[in-house]
């Protein structure tokens, strides 16, 4: 599995990661090696094996429908890069 620079660009876009031009080839190389490495799974016989999503065979616990959280906006927004009027600001979203 040899990833081309445009493959790296497509994956990086999906993951919203900026990869500098000069780094693309090294990512392409590393990712290709990782994918080659994990591709050995192909050879494993998994006929009839149920996929395992979770280590423990448990089911989801349900919580009571109660409001337990109070407003802590000010505290939580201390970590925010940019807020105004209680809103988180981002560059204009075009709809």
């Amino acid at each position: 599995m040899a990833l081309k620079p445009e493959d790296v660009a497509a994956i990086a876009h999906l993951a919203r990661l900026e990869i500098r031009d000069e780094d693309v080839s090294s990512y392409a190389d590393n990712l290709s090696r990782i994918l080659d490495f994990v591709q050995q799974l192909e050879r494993a016989d998994t006929e009839g094996v149920a996929p395992m999503a979770h280590p423990l065979a448990m089911s989801q616990r349900l919580r009571a429908d109660e409001v337990t959280e109070q407003d802590q906006r000010e505290r939580f927004q201390q970590n925010a890069p940019q807020v105004e009027a209680g809103l988180y600001l981002v560059p204009k979203v075009i709809e």
């Binding site: 979770h54 089911s59 989801q60 919580r63 939580f76 209680g86 988180y88 981002v90 560059p91 979203v93």
Partner: protein, 478 residues
Amino acid sequence: MEWEVVIGLEIHAQLATKSKIFSGASTAYGALPNTQACLVDLGYPGVLPVLNREAVRMAAKFGLAIGAEVARRSVFARKNYFYPDLPKGYQISQYELPVVAGGSIEIELEDGATKVIGITRAHLEEDAGKSLHEDFHGMTGIDLNRAGTPLLEIVSEPDMRSAKEAVAYMKKIHTLVRYLEICDGNMQEGSFRCDANVSVRPKGQKEFGTRTELKNLNSFRFVERAINYEIERQIELIEAGGKVVQETRLYDPEKNETRSLRAKEEANDYRYFPDPDLLPLEIDDSFLEEVKKTLPELPDAKKHRFMESYGLSAYDASVLTGSRAMGDYYESVVRTLGDEHAKLAANWVMGELSGALNKDGKEITETPISAAQLAGLLARIIDNTISGKIAKDVFEAMWAGEGDADAIIEKKGLKQITDTGAIEKIVDEVIAENPGQVEQYRAGKEALLGYFVGQVMKKTQGKANPGQVNQLLKQKLG
């Protein structure tokens, strides 16, 4: 060429839980921005989701109500995409194994016929926040109060063939979720929203045409208009030799048009996979039994019962079962008066009461005249204390908060005159005062009877029993 329209709807109903689907933050509408967004809703590092039992109960309730399979095991997955109103960069939703699968409901068409619309699935998921595009120095503001509000996404089969059918279906689901008390149905507040998948195909063709998905349909009227616009656009496009592109389109109610949202859709690859923070949701018999016990009488069943027990027309029964509260109100009035007065009760609930509610923009649950009070008023019509016409005045006074029917009748002296002697005296006066009209009447102009009735009513301020007045006048003039 004749075209056939194919429509499927995806309805998002916000579930009426107190807290969010995966956190203990409040779901109340209208709070200051981000004051109801806790660490889980904000997607803070390290925090984890825990599922709200009530949301599961409500989803199961819906499943039972549409005769669907409530899955014994369903799985929450992550739908991965970046958007500022989606704090974690993924939405927790059910993908491969939804909690509800394969139900249906019946809608009524304009010609009175009915049609069954299939419901493919209904699954639980979390709502996103809101982007506020007002100008913050050229930036967009993000409010995450809504993030994490439980949603039931109800996906129909592509069974609808016109915008009108789509609206009828949507209204039916709207009524149902409110009956079940799982959603408040408030469309202005976005508690009940809809996306429509629309395509057209030449009549008789088996394969579906390419569909577009219409978003932002937050009223019944918009659903109808947007779909009709889109049908026309697609037909025109194809007839002009063009091709419909599979895409998401946004409805603009101001311009009454749909426009492409392609920019946002580009390269969508949601990379769904089971959410490792949540375990499979298992619903057992005892849970379902418990939910079954809370199922109310459903709208269709109630409608048929109203038609049978109360002799109502299909239309009247439909209107009176339009909401659970309306049905309860009506039945409470009938219970007091007796089934033989069901029609009178229906006329008043659908007429005076609904009219007054509409005028004041009130819901039946906010009515200032209770069912007991309305029954009290109607009882006075039935026992001839007042006429139907006077009753309308009494109703107005009751609406204005002047008290019960009896108190108002008493205070205003509206009691009907039923004493034959008293009425006869006034009838005689009227005959004596109008010799010309009497002559004309006797010469065959029988339409003048109404004039004489009016004169009698005028002299009694409308309190004379109209039946008796009619009878006496005919007798004396004849």
